[in-house]
Structures are given as C-alpha cells and as structure tokens.
Subunit: 439 residues, 2 copies
Amino acid sequence: MKRTLIVRIPELVGEKVKIAGWINVRRDHGKLIFIDLRDRSGVIQIVIIPDNEEAYQRAREVRDEYVIEVEGLVKKRPGGQSTEKLETSSVEIEVEKMKIISRVEGELSFEVSSKKLDVNIQTLLDNRNLSLRNKRVNDIFKIYSQILKSYNDVMRENDFLEIKSPKILSTASEGGANFFKMEYFQGEAFLAQSPQFYKQAGVGAFERVFEIGTVFRAEPHFTTRHVNEYTSFDAEMGFIESYADIMKQLTQVMKRIIRDIQKNCASELAEYESELFVPDEFPKIKLTEALEILKKEFGKEMEGIDIDPEGERLIGEWAKKTYNSDFIFLTHYPSSIRPFYTMPSADPQYTESFDLIFKGVEIATGGQRIHDYNQLVASIQSHGLKLDDFKHYLEIFKLGIPPHGGWGLGSERIVQKVLGIKNIKEVILFPRDVKRLTP
Amino acid sequence: MKRTLIVRIPELVGEKVKIAGWINVRRDHGKLIFIDLRDRSGVIQIVIIPDNEEAYQRAREVRDEYVIEVEGLVKKRPGGQSTEKLETSSVEIEVEKMKIISRVEGELSFEVSSKKLDVNIQTLLDNRNLSLRNKRVNDIFKIYSQILKSYNDVMRENDFLEIKSPKILSTASEGGANFFKMEYFQGEAFLAQSPQFYKQAGVGAFERVFEIGTVFRAEPHFTTRHVNEYTSFDAEMGFIESYADIMKQLTQVMKRIIRDIQKNCASELAEYESELFVPDEFPKIKLTEALEILKKEFGKEMEGIDIDPEGERLIGEWAKKTYNSDFIFLTHYPSSIRPFYTMPSADPQYTESFDLIFKGVEIATGGQRIHDYNQLVASIQSHGLKLDDFKHYLEIFKLGIPPHGGWGLGSERIVQKVLGIKNIKEVILFPRDVKRLTP
C-alpha cells in the first residue's frame, strides 16, 4: 500500500489507508490510545484499541516525536474526544497495523505540540531541530518559501534574468568595513557583502538582472534586526529614466509578494493575526521631510541628516496613520551617507536614492547609480577612496553602460514584519550572529 | 515616447518608435550609415541618411558598444544590405533622432559582434564584461537562468520546501579536507562545502526540502570541471523506501530541465548544435558492472573499486551507444569512498548511493542516508572520525528521523554539458579558481 498524505484523509472515509509521520501527542483515554500524527501536510487523530494487541503494544511504547507508519480504516469521527481543533477533525483512523520507524533518544527539551512555544530565543535556537517541528515555527518557513517563489516569479515576469554572482572577492570594496576575511590558498580573500558590483556588470550584459543569494556582514552588533549572514533579494535594471522607475518596480514586487502570501498562506497569516495595509501606490517623502515630521509629530530630533531605527519606527507609524500604508519610501539621502556609486541629485548634497520602510523597519535600499565612467572616477576620489581598489569595477563603465539602478531587499525582514516577529533570528533556519555559529 | 524592445519592431511597420541599446556594429555604405543596434531582446538594423544632419553627425561619432537611443520610422526592408541574418531582418528603422547615452573609454579588446569569439579562455574571462555581450556567450546565461527556474518549479511541484541554510560553519565537517577557513570575529569559521547536514535537518522539520545555494570547495586543482565556488542544486526527501526513490525523483528533475530548455531556449540550443538524448528512464548499472564494461569494451582497468573522469567519459559513451541515453546512473559505490552518513547496502562493503553521469561527466551524487542515531554513531566511529566533531549533527537524529536521502547536483555542469562547452568556467558569470579572484 502506498502512503497517503494526511491532508487527503478526510476524502477517504470507509477506505483503508497507510500514513506515516511524527507523533505530535499521545493521549491515553481509558483503554483507548489516541495519537495525533503529523506529516508535512497536516495532523490527524488515530485510535488504537486494546483488541488489536500488537498495535496496542507498540502504541504504549511510543512517545512524542517518534516516527511511525500506520495502516487503518478512515472513519467519521464520533466527536468530543479531541482536545484541539484539527483541520482533519471530521475523521479519524482506526489503526490496524503500526510500525515504529524511528525513535527518540533521550528527553525532548520541550513539547512541540503546544500552540505557542513558551521558550526564550536561546533555547529556541539551541534546539532548532526540535523547535522547527512546532507548527507555529514551521509555518514561518512555509511563508518564507512562498516569498522566495514570489520574488523569482515577479522578477522573471518583468524580464529580469536570474544570475549567480561570486561570493569570494579579491578586495574588500565599497569602503572596506564589515567584511569577513578568509584564507584563499596562498593568499587571502573577502566574502561579498552584496552582489552590487556584479549586478551592475549584469546590466551591461543583460539590461535587467536579479539575484537571490547569501550575503555576509561582519557587523559586530547584537540587535533584533541584524544577523551576519542572510539572503538578499537583489535587482538591477538598465535604461531607466530616473530612480522613480526603481521604486515603481520595487512597489510591484512588494505588492506581488504580499498578494501571493495572502492568497497561498492565508491560514498561516491568520495564525499570526497578521494585518497588512498595502496601498496601490506607496507614499514617498524626502528624508529631510521625514526628519521634520519626526520633530513636529513626535518631538524627536536627529543629529545631522540621517534617521535611526527608532525614527524609522515612528515614520512607519506616521505612514500607517496618514496613508493607511505599511510601506513608505524615504528618498534623497545625503551623498555623505550613501556609497560612492550613488547618483547625485541636481543638488549634489543629496542622492537619487531611497530606503523602503515596511512596518517601521528598513527592508530595502536602492536608487540610481552613476553610469558615466568619468563621473564615477571623480566620485571615488571625492569619497576619499583609492581608484586602484576599484580597478575591476571601473572596467564595467568603460564599455558603455546605460542609466541604471536597483535595490537590495532583505528577504528575512519581509517575513519578520509580515508576521510581527520580534527577532529576525526566529525567521532564519539556522541563524548566525557574533556568538552563534551552531547548530 | 516610450522605449520599444527591438523584438517587437517587426510588428510596427509604418510607425514611429523609440529604441535604445548598444551598437553591435556600424557599417558605412556609400553615404549611408547602417548600425546593428542590440538590446536585451534582439538586434535590428537602423539607417542614418546624410540629409538628417544632426543624427548623421552623431552616427559618424559612435563606435561599437556605445549606448544610444534613437527615434525613427519602422520600414519594410529593401533587402540586400544586411551582412548577417537577423531575426528582425524584414524591417529596419530610418533614424530621425539619435542620442548618445554612454560612450566607450579606450579600445575594446575584441569585437563582440562576431558570431564566435576567437579568444582563449584567459582573455575571455579577463574581459568578462565585454565577452558577456557576445550573443553566443550571452545565450549561456539565458539557458542557465531557465535551468534555475526549472529546478525551482519542479521541486515545488513535488512538494519540496525551498530553504536557505547557513554558509558559515563552526567546524570543517565531513572529514575536514577542502574547506576554506575564515576569520569570524575573535575566532575562526569555515565555509560550507555543501548544505548536507542542514538539508537532513530539514527532513525532520519539513520532510522534503530543496536548496539552490553557493557551495565553496578549497580544491587546489585546475581542471575543466572544477571551480572553487559554484551553485549547487540540493534536495533531501523523507519517507523513502530506498535510494531508488531518489533516483526516480532526480530523473524527473533532469527530464523537466531538459524539456524546459528545449521548449524555451530552442534557438540558443540550435546555435550550439546541441543534441540531447533523454530516454524516459535512465539506465542504471552498478559501479562494479561499469568497471567490467570499461575493462571489456575499452581495455581500461581501474585501481580498486572507483572510477576516474576518463572512465566516466567512456561509460557515458557506452550508455549512448547501448541505450541511446545521455544519462546513466552508477550505483553502489563502496563505503570506503563514500561519506560516513551514506546508508550501507545489505553487503556493507557497498552503499545505497549513486552518481548520475550526463554526457560522460558526473553531474550529481546522491543516495540514501543513515537515519538511525545509533547506526550513525557507529558509522562515524568506524570511519575513524571523532564523535565530538558531529555533536550538533547527531542532535538531528535523536529526534526521530524517517528513512531519507537526496542529492547534490552541480547546476553549472548541466549547462556545460547541454551546450558541449569545454571548460566549466565559461558557463559561470565570474568564475573563481585557485588563481582567479577577479574580475
């Protein structure tokens, strides 16, 4: 007999089936043993009666998270026995045969069948293999997988080519801070902080490129928003009129991602009581305007023309209140705090660049880049950087490059903010921070 | 006026259009100037007549690879003037306005408009930004992007969840050779050679997972098949009956990838004169049988039970001749040359594992893994490895793990062999080898 997925069982009343999965929880009720069995598709109640001696013997032996395979009859459920509402609660399986496939060694650190794991983040991550089995935790990665797909789909539909750029670099470019250094045969190398230079090269070859890839940041700080390794959604597009084209494309991307998860992950969103406010166009204000709003509406004054995480949170609140929008673009960051390759505005103190704030957190940075070779050379010099460090990068711009721009979008921050999860490490399978390299 | 992509132009005879792109080649013909203009969608001939003084002046100035924007009238083409057949050859554009968007600095190292670049691999890669603009080179990455999509699609359709696993590891596991070492804040770390341990963890949480990710191999050799950083297509699936389930799933994946590129990249395949022989089921023979065939049919004797690249090439030939198949599975590799986590066969000298050979090159390695905690502990010890190095890995198997297996598939080798390209470095945008860390 072939295995049937649990989600299919309610359609099979009166039939014999084989299912396999993990024991979510076992309940002994008088002489009957009830087990909630879990596979990748769902959870179902199975019943073992004492008359079936062999199966009953096995059922008495099993504990939470044992892997078992059972054959049995699908029956309409009398009702009243379940302690928790299951999607399959109209049926149960009366077990005829039971096989133990894999056992648990030692004690489990916590009960994974509980609705909400009541453990701190260290325990959650130290016991990652166990915590991932909790439905609420597991759901995060179903949504994340959908986000990966949506980004891929929407970029391709807009004629972007998917590329994979190198992660090992010869020099720590873009200023040099926060790069991980590695041994590379007889010499040394650095891990890429972003595919920035390579996606710009991609414009020269393919006009429009996107990449879903790992980026590495040797940032020594502990926050709920930072990790040292994450998956970046990058894009770069040529023949733009201005940075507004980039914001327009990114708006389409975000709307598509949100629409897809609302459509395909509705039950998971409901579980997290996620509420999303996504207007057709996202509000856009200049950074300097945002700073005025912070001062006027929240009495918060920033030093210089820059915004901090608290400021982003407040601007997010303001956008929600004012535009009923979870998203807001802040534009025209000063050149002094943007990388040398950022296109200056008509007033060269500012740049044709933006951050996208989602529910009070910056999830993307982007803008137009300098495409003229001589302007780029001048910008490298005026930023106090050495031309020699950008020798290979500059080659790109000797070959005729159209006006272009793009973004880097933190994929994990999307799911974090969609679900309202406090710490970004909770939405990464096996996160890495200054102190965490395991499991 | 909005920009029109070149591929659309033949439908617009009699209309005024704006197009933009790179100068593929300029030809001066008597008083007329002809330019083949290239954008991401194709190439078209544009004509500039001397009467249009302003445009004519600009046209005399431009050189190969300049980026220009032109407005003009789409006309049926008189014929006879084109030196090369273009997809758009039924029409041409009579230029009314021309704008130079971006210039070339210095001399180009070679002519990118030629059908086949006649340069050696070092020149090809040293001038990567230029060589990628050659159509034949560019096509490689269109096919590669399609392969990325096909793998993503087919895995999802088979209910695999997409995951992203960490690339920074605390220990050099799996034996320890060929790992890159890096500085990690106050300590050190290693770059992942494969997502092996994490995808197995994924089985415990999601049953079926796949990953498209960078892997790093500190292999010091120079061959046409190796690079030090590449993109691996990984998969792992739980609740299998045997390693045969893995081969079946992988067969489906490869058939899907080939079918998709045949359907969506027909002209690119034709350009490379690619011929593909993909039977419905791939032949499978034991490695020991393969060694007998090598001896009997090719007079080649291997030392011990193993096969070398030359042997794989000959077995590929044999599979083609015998089964009219570009694919062949070699199965039951000896335990001594497989990693400790490989499931032993009934005869424990051998393993429930396989390599997939495509056109004479190994493109995938896979098989069933050990899922029982105690068996795994014994296998680590009998392989002479230290249990302590696998502490975190072993945790996975304390929690109840079903029988499972998977594969690692070299994504670049697929496109390399599909197109019959000699060196794998040609199919990677910016490849990394022992001596190459740039561009």
